[in-house]
Symmetry: C2
Subunit: 344 residues, 2 copies
DNA sequence: GACAACCCTGCAAACGTTTGAAATTTTTTA
DNA sequence: TAAAAAATTTCAAACGTTTGCAGGGTTGTC
């Protein structure tokens, strides 16, 4: 009832050897027509399922790959996974998903576990703790075993590995440039957590764009959030209370942009006439809220696809030399209502 | 360089038997102190990683479970996965994620594959095609092997299996009741695709709630969408053009609610004064758009947690009798601005 | 009728690990 | 110093499958 049927079971039943059964089920030519048919029929009847575990042991191929991400419950991350999946599942690979919750220790544990499970490659978007601490030792085993390792979203130059990232700096730069082009003079920034790669890059894009366009630096226009909607409320409130109010806010992501829009409306100000708002991520609803939100789109699915492509290159490389390809994808600015014409 | 170090390799190096190495690494008491230390040090030095595949074969335990979902790139689905993960990863389980894109054939293939990989349990949110066709044969093997099988979101009574679902009917009922309580008289419904379980249940909740409150049935107030934002545009346009306009719209999900709100605003009508809008899903932004959206929250993460809990019950049951627990979680109505006071 | 050619099946080893029982070595005891 | 006891190590089998090679049987050819 409970134990799966094995080839040996079938062999015993038919008083033949396991080899014959194996060959019959795999349509090996050197097997008698009748024998094959009988065995195949019986196997089907009893619901025989070839044991992949034993095969994996024999062939040293598991057809499974590990994906380590800080979180899964989030549009961008799951788009990446979907992209990887779209390429790799049709080729027979299984995905082992590991969620680190931004914790270094968990990440380390998952790497060990994946290695132990003999996955054929690892995709990793390193956790915040890992990134902050610069602890990359746990990837050394992966490297030593010359197992395909592909960094997603955050790059590490320590050893040869692939990486696919999105140019957050450029995305921010373009967004701010757009705000400037629409005539905004006092552009504020809802910054993300300091030390966090994506947040820092966007901040840098904001700063350098203003600089290159000859704006004076004004620290009062830069406030901090933690990416969440609520964390934008107080900072934006503060911005609007400034003696000389900003006329545009570039937000580190859409969540905070939505928070900002709420505060602005609650104060009776108009978007975009009084204040323009731009976000980052182009989440699915940004086109449908009112006003629709200008936002920088990150091609998450494409990132996953490219990462999978690089993995396959490693896999198929005849030479064992580590292919270390670094790909940087451009984000795309989606211009919508929230950065429309200024009021006078 | 590439080949992983095995216990045999270490044994050869130390001129001892594999058994000794295995015991030393596992801190077996019957191993000499020095021997153990030496072996452990060496193993660490060469980066030995126990091969879980061989262990799985030996113990017939893979510590991995399969999760089959129609899509992953979506708040609700990924919340479920996150919930399952939160319970099972700490216990050492790996998650094999399979995305069916609502296709029966893929789902069937994944079931075979998971069985072949000897996962210890399968969580499945069946694809639309499976549901429509009533094709559940591919789960028979799972059942015959008395492998824990847990249906998520869509229940199947064909054979003993666990299930955790959310009471969509009740959610819709409560939402519509709320609209009635706020004084609305002509309540329209943006219906989802016919034949789709969740959509149908919500429709039923809508219908029966109106009936129980003595409303006349008005087919012109029921229009169809495919869950997507865009698909709400034309139908809502049509609703607003009716000789006797609805004063409330109950939408099958938040996406369509957002689409509806856009059309309503574009027509110069006010929400909620002229028309109230309620959605379903309580997506993260619903509290922050303007007006904030009343919506029925589905506890996805909790669903995942409960499903995992049921799985563990199967696992730990001393008797092999199939525990078949069916859990129905209540959704929660989140009342917000979009269903506030009517205008006169 | 002998020998080759062919068809089909079985043997045995391999993948990496664990584990009960047996064997060996070392230590203790009388 | 010999026997008993304890400590440590090895043997062998097992998990399920595949596969090169050898073996056995049948048919065909001269």
């Amino acid at each position: 009832m409970s134990k799966p049927v094995t080839i040996k079971d079938i062999a015993r039943k038919f008083k033949c050897s396991p080899s014959t059964v194996s060959r019959a089920l795999n349509n090996h030519p050197a097997i008698n027509e009748d024998t094959r048919r009988n065995l195949q029929e019986y196997a089907k009847k009893v619901g025989y399922q070839r044991n992949q575990v034993s095969l994996s042991l024999l062939n040293k191929k598991t057809a499974s790959i590990g994906v380590i991400v800080p979180t899964i419950n989030n549009y961008y991350e799951s788009a990446i996974i979907e992209g990887i999946d779209a390429v790799l599942q049709p080729l027979g690979y299984s995905l082992h998903i590991c969620v680190t919750n931004e914790q270094y220790l968990l990440e380390q544990g998952y790497v060990e576990k994946l290695l132990s499970n003999r996955v054929e490659g690892i995709f990793v978007s390193v956790s915040q703790e890992t990134y902050d601490g610069g602890h990359y030792e746990h990837f050394e085993n992966v490297y030593n075993r010359s197992l395909p390792l592909i960094f997603i979203d955050r790059e590490y130059e320590g050893f040869a590995a692939g990486s696919v990232t999105i140019d957050d700096y450029l995305g921010a730069f373009v967004a701010v440039e757009h705000l400037i082009a629409t005539g905004r003079k006092r552009i504020a920034h809802l910054r993300g957590p300091q030390g966090m790669s994506v947040a820092d890059q966007r901040y840098r894009g904001y700063i350098e764009c203003l600089q290159q366009h000859g704006f004076d630096r004004d620290e009062t226009l830069i406030v901090h959030t933690d990416f969440k909607v609520e964390s934008a409320i107080a900072p934006v409130d503060q911005l609007l209370g400034l003696p000389s109010r900003p006329d545009a806010i570039f937000c580190v992501n859409d969540q905070t942009a939505i928070g900002a829009m709420k505060v602005i409306r609650d104060k009776g100000l108009r978007i975009p006439e009084d204040i323009a708002v731009a976000g980052f991520d182009d989440s699915p609803i940004s086109g449908y809220i009112s006003p629709s939100l200008t936002s920088v789109a990150r091609p998450g699915r494409q990132l996953g696809i490219e990462a999978a492509r690089i993995f396959l290159q490693y896999q198929n490389a005849t030479e064992k030399e580590a292919i270390s390809e670094h790909l940087i994808l451009p984000p795309q600015l989606m211009i919508r209502g929230s950065t429309g014409k200024r009021g006078k």
